[in-house]
């Protein structure tokens, strides 16, 4: 299966699971965001452009599934995918802690930017709930489920470096 088809499938399933299951798992005011984690995983493995496009598509799908204002989640997730991808391509490259840093920073940024966007379009949102309760709990929950989600992402999207290393071994042998 091609990379694009795999990414489309993974994002589609993640969006479905987010809308139907994970959004209702409320703990201490926050919910885990499996779609965001999948996007972070994809962006870390495939870079900024793929991350941004996958984020846009995933966000649009989530907006459709939840009958939400079209474009809001797309914008947030496209930026999140792009930033994570750029981080993986530059300072976070080959760093062991890159996934953890990405999860913490991107989850917090998505929640804060989401609050600003919803405020701008006229949605009444409690700042305390969105910026304090949801951010702390959201970051914590995402960190807890990040490891299995990233392992799944790596299983279906092998890192490109690993593909090239496999070729190297074949030549030497």
């Amino acid at each position: 299966m091609s990379d694009a088809a795999t990414i489309t499938g993974v994002v589609f399933v993640a969006a479905l699971l987010q809308a139907t299951l994970f959004s209702s798992l409320d703990l201490l005011g926050g919910t885990p965001d499996v779609l965001l984690l999948v996007l972070i995983g994809i962006a870390l493995l495939r870079g900024s452009v793929t991350g941004a496009v996958a984020g846009f598509g995933g966000g649009l799908l989530l907006d459709v599934l939840t009958l939400d204002t079209l474009g809001l989640t797309s914008l947030l997730l496209a930026l999140a995918g792009y930033w994570t991808g750029r981080y993986a391509e530059t300072t976070g490259r080959n760093r062991v802690h890159a996934p953890v840093v990405s999860v913490v920073v991107v989850t917090a940024l998505v929640l804060v930017l989401g609050f600003v966007l919803h405020f701008l379009v006229g949605d009444e949102v409690s700042a305390r709930r969105a910026l304090l309760d949801a951010t702390i709990a959201g970051v914590g929950l995402n960190l807890i489920i990040a490891a299995p989600v990233f392992a799944l992402c790596r299983a279906v999207l092998p890192p490109l470096d690993r593909i090239s290393r496999a070729g190297e071994v074949r030549v030497v042998g």
Partner: protein
């Protein structure tokens, strides 16, 4: 053999790393502009505009899949809710036992009062608006999706205009009022929960008759009864229900008598214009599985 130089294939770079910075920025710019255009168009156009219609069609096409996933996911969600409920099960059982005693006595008194009420209304030729639940048809349904994040307290239901559901239709469970339908398509609808920042319901204290407006509380699923005059009497434990007012051609969106919650605390400061009344709803907004939409007959 070992001394020979080995030709190593060049490592495959990231797809986006190999692309120029200009291309990368163009893609991001395009996606951002597209998103903003979608937000603007979606926000400005009416409910029957082309974008909303396209969204409704796509949502309808995806709905069978959504329902299938929801059914598979339900045991996991129930397990989560069950585990979370364990922590408060003991205190909840004691509270319910005490409440049951009180309610048993109240039922007898209420039956007598109801009969008296019917007789008096007949004497007065009393004209009333739609009565709950007599004048409403219940459309029972499951919850298929929820928006992600803490920005919206909403749920999505797989029933729409084809089932008679209309915008502003009240939604409830056995435990009380859940919210109202704020957007409806042919076969799906979005419900804004009572805990959303934009929700407000005119309500009345069932025991004392004190009136106010129920709105979201400071955190989580808490609710407050606002605009209760300082002269009005509200006691801890009182049941709060929808008031279902009617003035001329204007009327409340909710029929009278839908339970909202119980008063947990009452306070007032000298500087405040109104009393501070906190309510606890019996509805568990975080684990709604199935609800009932009230459709006027």
């Amino acid at each position: 053999m070992l001394g020979l130089p080995v030709r190593r294939p060049a490592p495959r770079p990231f797809i986006s790393r190999s692309s120029s910075a200009l291309r990368r920025r163009l893609v991001l710019g395009l996606l951002v502009v597209l998103s903003l255009a979608l937000v603007t168009a979606s926000f400005r156009e009416s409910e029957d505009g082309p974008l909303h219609r396209a969204q409704a069609t796509a949502a309808s096409a995806l709905q069978p899949l959504e329902i299938a996933v929801e059914r598979v996911a339900r045991p996991f969600r129930d397990a989560w809710a069950w585990t979370a409920g364990l922590f408060e099960a003991r205190s909840e059982a004691e509270r319910l036992r005490a409440e049951n005693e009180v309610l048993r006595q109240q039922v007898i008194q209420n039956e007598s009062a109801l009969q008296k009420n019917v007789d008096l209304k007949a004497l007065l030729d009393f004209v009333e608006g739609p009565q709950f639940p007599r004048d409403y048809r219940a459309v029972a349904t499951s919850v298929t999706a929820r928006p992600a994040g803490a920005f919206e307290q909403e749920i999505v239901l797989p029933v729409g205009t084809e089932n008679g559901v209309e915008v502003n239709a009240p939604v409830m469970t056995d435990d009380g009022l859940v919210g109202q339908v704020t957007r409806v398509t042919g076969d799906s609808s979005r419900v804004t929960l009572l805990t959303d920042e934009s929700s407000a319901v005119s309500a009345v204290d069932l025991v004392t008759g004190a009136e106010g407006i129920v709105e979201h509380g400071q955190s989580g699923d808490t609710l407050v009864l606002n605009r209760v005059s300082k002269k009005a009497v509200v006691n801890v434990g009182d049941e709060i229900i929808t008031s279902g007012w009617r003035t001329g051609s204007l009327s409340s969106l909710y029929p009278r008598g839908i339970p909202i919650g119980r008063v947990t605390s009452v306070g007032q400061l000298n500087t405040d214009l109104y009393q501070q009344v906190q309510i606890e709803s019996q509805v568990d907004f975080s684990s709604l599985d199935s609800v009932v939409v009230l459709v006027e007959r």
